[in-house]
Symmetry: C2
Subunit: 289 residues, 2 copies
């Protein structure tokens, strides 16, 4: 559970820590970044809540830290931000670096069951269990009982599915341009076939598909989602937020599902930077009540 | 004067345009980015003022656009931001790509007089004349009479020297971690010797050194400068803001020179993102009066 500090960077009155640890879940050294807001770094006695930001395909912990602008809102509210990596790295599985959308940088926040990926590609367990345990153990000023989740693209899929699969675990959820129905999208099909195998990908995939999971959701559902109308992956049918909206409506839990179609915005971090204040505010509403 | 649009990206309610033009000053295609705030993109009849952001060593127009968060403040105030490149590119001068701190990505905002650089490395003329003329010609919603300047590191040197050499041209000036006395700093000495020649580098350099130029400044001087105390280049004596402060004081023009030493901040864009709102606010004070 020991954490190595690679860098400490002042940011918005707090500290952005570049960290790593030897993760048993994934069997390799995993990098992650943690933003501690000023409220957690200046003789604070109160604990600060945590917002987990899950990145999209190809990203490392640095993309969101440098370009997402989450620290701006987090500093104001007093929220720590956790930026995990998107897959195991360098675990010497044949083909791990062959595609941008499978293997390295593309763990899809599932526990792989198909060989050879099942040995290391356990991002679901890593993100829901080992990484937060490691953070809470190393940083006592972060409140383990007060955690929200958000993410972008593949990370939006991660945020939605982790939230929907674990009622009560996260105080709130939001997403930018999420892969909202991976069973019906080329990215999702490729990932699920690879990580679960040709035989099981649809049945296992159902357990990791927000549009399927929302059908079983009980109680109110207050999720903020931003999708840009200029997002090429949205246009290509990789995101399918309408399918999530339809399923939520049919399940009668759509009253709090706020999908905002942002005029002309694309799939890039420019979109996230423009709306991250809103997503931090959405989390704050639940983290401080 | 024609401008090619490479991309139009929605950002903070406005548009970040990735552009290029064939520049006669530098004899090559030059990339630049222009952020048009919402006030300039939605049937606006009023013109918007312009803030020029000059980047540091190795940067392209994208570094500031993606990681500086100037768009956040600029969107609020209604200010366009111009992100120029830092040198000519691909002009086939022997050795142009050999160093990170000389040649490509390191134009130092001077007009070179020494061969072979004098043929293309005319960044002073390019930034003070050709590029803004190109922008005002192509984007009528940008007000050519209302321009401020800021910059980082080598670009902070650029902002300070262009402001001090051209009284009245820019409404205001600010800088992040500027090379404030290049004649006394290893980066500046190398650049000036290369661009002006071994014989002339000190005399010519005096015309492009903020600490020298401030000695001749008449009237009030209201400049905001942020320098991080954790900035390794500050510690190594590349920036020397104290020399600028001393010279301004001796010239009796230091009353408005606000050098803020930011505790623990480094030389990176994390620092800029943390304080860019303040620098946009500083510019707005002058751009809207």
């Amino acid at each position: 559970m020991s954490v190595t500090t690679k860098a400490t960077i002042a940011s918005f009155g707090g500290k952005l820590l570049k960290l790593s640890h030897n993760a048993s879940t994934t069997g390799c050294e995993m990098a992650f970044n943690l933003f501690l807001p000023p409220q957690a770094t200046t003789n604070a006695t109160d604990k600060v809540p945590l917002l987990i930001y899950l990145s999209g395909l190809t990203c490392t912990p640095d993309n969101g830290s440098e370009k997402g602008f989450f620290q701006h809102g987090a500093s104001k509210h007093g929220i720590a931000i956790l930026y995990p990596d998107t897959s195991p790295r360098g675990v010497n599985i044949e083909g791990e670096d062959d595609s941008y959308d499978f293997g390295s940088g593309a763990g899809f926040y599932v526990d792989a069951t198909a060989s050879p990926w099942s040995s290391n590609y356990k991002m679901y367990s890593y993100i829901t269990d080992e990484l937060p345990r490691t953070v809470f153990s190393a940083f006592s000023q972060v409140d383990s009982t007060c955690v929200s989740i958000t993410g972008h693209s593949m990370g939006g899929h991660g945020a939605l599915t982790l939230f929907l699969k674990n009622p009560g675990k996260y105080k709130s959820c939001s997403a930018f341009a999420p892969i909202a129905n991976p069973l019906k999208a080329p990215w999702g099909e490729k990932a699920f076939k690879g990580y679960f195998g040709e035989k099981d990908w649809q049945s296992k995939g159902k357990e990791h598909d927000a549009t399927e999971l929302v059908k079983g959701w009980k109680g109110p559902l207050d999720i903020l989602i931003d999708v840009g109308t200029g997002d090429n992956f949205y246009k290509q049918g990789q995101l399918l937020p309408e399918n999530l909206a339809k399923a939520a409506k049919e399940a009668g839990v759509d009253s709090g599902l706020n999908i905002r179609f942002q005029d002309g915005y694309d799939h890039s971090y420019y979109t996230m930077a423009s709306f991250s204040d809103d997503h931090v505010q959405h989390a704050a509403k639940y983290l401080f009540t």
